[in-house]
Amino acid sequence: MARTVTTRRKAINTALAWAIGLTIFFPILWTILTSFKTEATAIADPPVFLFFDWTLENYAVVQERSDYMRFLWNSVIIAGGSTLLGILIAVPAAWSMAFVPSRGTKDILLWMLSTKMLPAVGVLYPIYLIFIQLGLLDTRIGLVIVLMLINLPIIVWMLYTYFREIPGEILEAARMDGASLREEILYVLTPMAVPGIASTILLNFILAWNEAFWTLNLTAAGAAPLTAFIASYSSPEGLFYAKLSAASTMAIAPILILGWFSQKQLVRGLTFGAVK
């Protein structure tokens, strides 16, 4: 029998979950609301929640000051590019780890993860010098490479855990039928792993989108993404809560919307092999 519960129990669950959910979401909601206030209303005492004169003025001011679309486009390219490049490199690696495991596989996996331990601030100087030499400063390709390298261990690990759940017999069968390695990956493995790959792409897109150290320090005008956009709105002179809120909303809105639409995918797929 499926789990049946009383309506009362369900009502209590609902109330509790909604209360918690709204509390967790509140800072974002408050930011969005504040972005529609005037600067004076934004600091009103007592604070006003919904009943104020809604205005789009802050968005106009922010747009006038900085070309939002350019930052947005850079964010999309950098986050998207680094994720796709990462997937292309990680799929074969994860495949071989999952289906042709050797004694060292686990060690390699853990070593990969340990490369994420290098503190970014400690290596900024060397990386900056290398970027100058290679002419990669303030280029999208430079950031695509760096963010790909940063997230590659996570991508490999996630894919590895998904691939491992695919029964090896299916691949055996395909091989018996004379499928080549390429066909095996392309026609047998990939379709089965699509949910896993999708949530890997999502998670890494989010991580790359939100990365704020390298994207800020390796860019100037050309390749600056939304993290740099927001850096010009933190504590300017005078009252700024409303403008800061508008800029913040603009910076997080695209990824928030993307996340919401793909929420199911993320909820189902984000396991890191935790489920066995």
Binding site: K10, I89, A93, S96, S114, A120, G259, A274, V275
Partner: protein
């Protein structure tokens, strides 16, 4: 099932990822090691010669070193404890039948999509500010004197902000783990009259052990590196100077690349000690 052929193919397929990461690790690490043995002051003309272990000694003997290690551990530990405990509770709740489950999930995971800089700015200005922040207004409603969060409760404030960002991640992973739990086993226990608490303790928690380890491992990697949250809020004041932030101050504020690089090497060592410890546990679990 692996033939000789597929073994070499496998190695070939792994090569790009391994070579790239090896390069990404070795090149900066070598350069950092090189700098760490030099007196290297960009504002005084750069390279001023080899100094042996001077930078290493100076970094650990400075009065800010141990407090920084401590602050790092407190923040990482605090966030881990909060996100894991609340994450388990929240995951249990979200697994229950309710109306509007999808929307609640969306609300709960939303903070994960907010970039750290934005979340730090929003928390600092609109919630924790002792004059205009919402918390100050809330305290005043109850007749209490508003707390000066970022100075009087600096570490808890940082832990609060970071926990808010990472709770969704922990909840998501724990939720998928709970959903995979064998319902029949639970029902059998329920039939046997096991009270909810022991059902949780003997069936659910052991089942979640693996998921919790993974949450701890992945979050630790990210938490050791938190920077924006401190840079935006306290800039390392009031005991929130983590090891990462200390290195930042050495390299960028003092422009002492040699000293900062030595700090970087210490951070790598500390991170790897923690990682080794964690990976031992996860590594065992990966086989299971």
């Amino acid at each position: 099932m692996a033939t000789q052929h597929s073994r070499s193919a496998a190695r070939l397929m792994m090569a790009p990822a391994v070579i790239l990461l090896l390069g990404w690790m070795l090149v900066p690490l070598t350069m950092t090691l090189y700098f760490s043995f030099k007196r290297y002051l960009p504002l005084r003309g750069g390279d001023q010669g080899w100094v042996g272990f001077e930078n290493y000694i100076r970094f650990v003997t400075s009065s800010s070193f141990w407090p920084a290690v401590q602050a790092t551990l407190v923040i990482v530990g605090g966030v881990l404890v909060i996100t894991v405990i609340l994450g388990v509770l929240l995951a249990l709740l979200l697994d229950q039948p309710m109306w509007g489950q999808g929307i609640v999930r969306i609300l709960v995971i939303a903070p994960f999509f907010v970039m750290p800089t934005v979340s730090a700015l929003v928390w600092k200005n609109m919630f924790l500010d002792p004059v205009n922040g919402l918390f100050a207004h809330l305290w005043e409603v109850f007749g209490a004197t508003p707390i000066e969060w970022l100075s009087q409760a600096s570490l808890p404030s940082i832990i609060l902000i970071v926990s808010w960002q990472w709770l969704p991640f922990a909840t998501l992973i724990l939720l998928t783990a709970i959903q995979s739990l064998d319902g029949e086993q639970l029902e059998a226990a329920e039939m046997d009259g096991a009270p909810p608490l022991s059902r949780f303790g003997f069936i659910i928690l052991p089942h979640l052990a693996r998921a919790i380890t993974i949450v701890v491992l992945i979050q630790t990697i990210f938490l050791l590196a938190i920077f924006a949250e401190i840079f935006v809020t306290t800039q390392g004041s009031f005991g929130t100077r983590t090891l990462t932030y200390l290195i930042y101050q050495r390299v960028l504020e003092s422009q002492n690349v040699g000293l900062g690089s030595a700090g970087g090497i210490y951070a790598v060592i500390l991170a790897n000690i923690i990682a080794l410890f964690l990976m031992r546990i996860v590594g065992k679990n990966l086989d299971a």
